[in-house]
Every structure is written in C-alpha cells, then in structure tokens.
Symmetry: C2
Subunit: 242 residues, 2 copies
Amino acid sequence: MDISSEQHSQHISRQFNQELEGLKTHLMAMGGLVEKQILDALTALLDGNGELAEEVRRFDHEVNEMQLQLDDECTHILARRQPAASDLRLVLAVIRAASDLERMGDEADKIARHALALMGGQHNDRGFVEIRRVGAMVRDMVRNALTAFARFDTKLALEVRRADTEVDNEYKSALRSLVTFMMEDPASISGVLDVLWVLRALERIGDHADNLAESVIYLVKGLDLRHTHLRDLDEKDLDDIG
Amino acid sequence: MDISSEQHSQHISRQFNQELEGLKTHLMAMGGLVEKQILDALTALLDGNGELAEEVRRFDHEVNEMQLQLDDECTHILARRQPAASDLRLVLAVIRAASDLERMGDEADKIARHALALMGGQHNDRGFVEIRRVGAMVRDMVRNALTAFARFDTKLALEVRRADTEVDNEYKSALRSLVTFMMEDPASISGVLDVLWVLRALERIGDHADNLAESVIYLVKGLDLRHTHLRDLDEKDLDDIG
C-alpha cells in the first residue's frame, strides 16, 4: 500500500470509529431524556403537578424522534460501512436498545396520563407508597442498564437482570394489596385502577431495562441471553459473563 | 468478466436470494405459530379449557426460539452479504417484525395465564363478550399484517393501521363497562381484573400488529411511519402509499 492510500484508509477508519462513537453518544442522550421522562412522570403523579405531567406528554414526541434518527444512523452505517463482528453487534445492539428506550418513553407517557386522571378524580394517595418504592427500583435499573451499555460492563448488566426479579415481586405484592383495598372500598375502584396501570407501566419499564442489559451482554460477549432465565445459568456461566 | 466468474457471481446471487426468501419463509412460519398461540389462548379462556391454556404456556418457548434463530439468520446475512437498499430494508424489517411477533407471543402467554386464574376462581363469564369481540378484531389485524408482509401489500398494511384505532375504541368502552360492574359487585373484582388484563393484552397485540404493518410500509416504500398518526397524512400521501 502506498503512503497516500494508507492515509486514505486510516482516514476512512477514523471516520468509521467516529460514527460508531456517535451512535453511542446519541443513544446515551436518548437514554438521558427517557430517564428524565420517567422521573418527571413519577414526580408529577406523586406531587399532583399537572403542568409537569403535560410536559412529559409533550416530550414523548422528542423521544420518538431520537429513535428514528438513531435507526437512520444505524441503517446508513450498515449500508455504507458494512461492519463485521463486534462493530456489527454494536449497531444491532443500538437498534434494539433504542427500541427499548422508546417503549420506556411510551410507558412514562402512560404514567403521566394516569397522573392527570388521578388529579381529575377524588383519589387519596392509596398506592402511592408502592409507586414510590417500585419507581425508585425501576429508575435504578434504567440508570444501571445505561451505564452498563456506556462502559460495556457486563457485571453491572447482570445486576440489572437480578433487580428485575425483585421488581416483579414488589409489583405482585402491591397488586394484591390494591385488590383487597378495592374490595373494601368499591367507590375507590376507578382511582385505584389508575394506580394499578401506573404500577404495570413501571413493571414494563423494568422489563425494558432488563432487555437493555441483555443487549449489553450480547454486545460484549456475543451471547444472546434473551429468553434465558438467570436460574438456568450456573455460577460458572455467570462468572464467565461478569 | 470471464464466463466462470460470471457463473460464480450468478451462483452467489442465487444463494443470496435464497437466503432472503428463507428469511421471509421463516418469519411467516413464526407468524403462523403466533397466530395459533393467540387463537388457542382465547379458546382456552372462553371454553374454560385448562389443558389448552397449559399448552399455550409450554409453546411460548418455541416462539422465543424462532425469534433467536431469525435474528441469527439476519446477523449472518448482514455480516456476510452486506446487503444494500431494499435488501437491507428487508433484513431490518424482519428483525423488527420478529421482535413484534415475539411480544405478541408473550401476550398470548399472559392471556393463557389469566385464563387459568379465571378457571381457578369463581368468575362467571362477565366480559367474555368483549374479549370475544376484541379478540376477533385483533386476530384479523395479525393475519392481515402477516399477509401484507408476505405480499408486500401496503394497501392492506394501511387497513391494519386503521383497524388499530377501532380496537383502541372497543378496548376503552369495554374498560368503562367493566369498571362499572366492579363497583356494583365488589366480590367480582379479582376475576374482572383478570378479564381487564386479557383485554389489555389483546390491545397490545393490536399495537404490535400495527407495528408490523408499519414495517411493511418501511420495507416497500422506504418510509418510516412509526410515530406518524394516520390523521397527519393527507389523502394524497395515503394514495402514494397504497
């Protein structure tokens, strides 16, 4: 290879690396917005702040835009750069992750909608303790999943996967106590159902954070862990992953 | 190009076409299984058939397997064939579609789980009329979305998108009548909640069928209609798409 064509190919590969870095940066920006949407939706609900809930609803649009842009970037990279091996895995992991983040955004929007419904009704704060608790757990999961992605940290990704089981348990126990409450006080049903939908939305955000964590493991190790339960992996597998 | 290298490149391109055809065939096979899962879950619930519900739960695993295999096929094609333009769109649309089908499968599994819960309790058939109605609409959407994908039929894809609005309306009206019923008969709450979760699962299957239809439009026209409401498109746009 003569010097000028070597320079040319170095130039190309530097550009390519910049594009891949760009993908990660834009995914993290999208993640940051989604984290804010979840926090704002929860704050709006717990503080009865209608304006904040409306703001969350307006911003859902931005989240959607960011997904479309990320998908475009990925498609262009696939078409022009024809990445292989770990670069290809990165691009596919970003497509998956952006889809999970967009769905988390949808759930934040739902929480804001139910927050507004609750403010319009006569609901007391029954179930708010549970929302606060599950909400904090789920926000931790999302933050850790994004950090794991940024740092390619599979140990942290596995922690996210473990936390999902705890969230599911909390969610089920909250559900049971709310059903009992509705039976005792039928006039509360409509409001308590809004609380139930919010808990369900949080539980789904947790599922998507779990998916994000799986994408990190796929990305770093080339292992596809979707549909694999942690209990089906033995200690050695877990060590290998971490 | 001499004759043998031309034969070689024809050979490669025939293989490549076969691989792309294989993707479509396998996606349709996965779609067929998911359709069956949805039908079986609904039948199990409406007929109180516990064995059938258990079978749906066991088969969810197969749906997951099919998604992993399709994703593998797609990754290999991207890495080895480096497809461009419409071939690249096909591969990306298959990845998206397989993810939507897998989530529909999850919802069918949830319906089967709630069917078993209902059989274990003392629920009468309150809400079953609504489940039957929404279930039939949603099954039509799934079938049409799959047909639209198989035939690259954007007109049919647009019909699916329109049907989703009807499903949402039916779902909301069913929800209201069930809330009223719970208030009148608090002893029924636990069972009626199972019915509510089933309706929510059906509504989500409809959303995923809508996504599938969007993938068809992306595939055929290169237009990304996610996050675009039909009401934001004028008649001319719709003609262009159809």
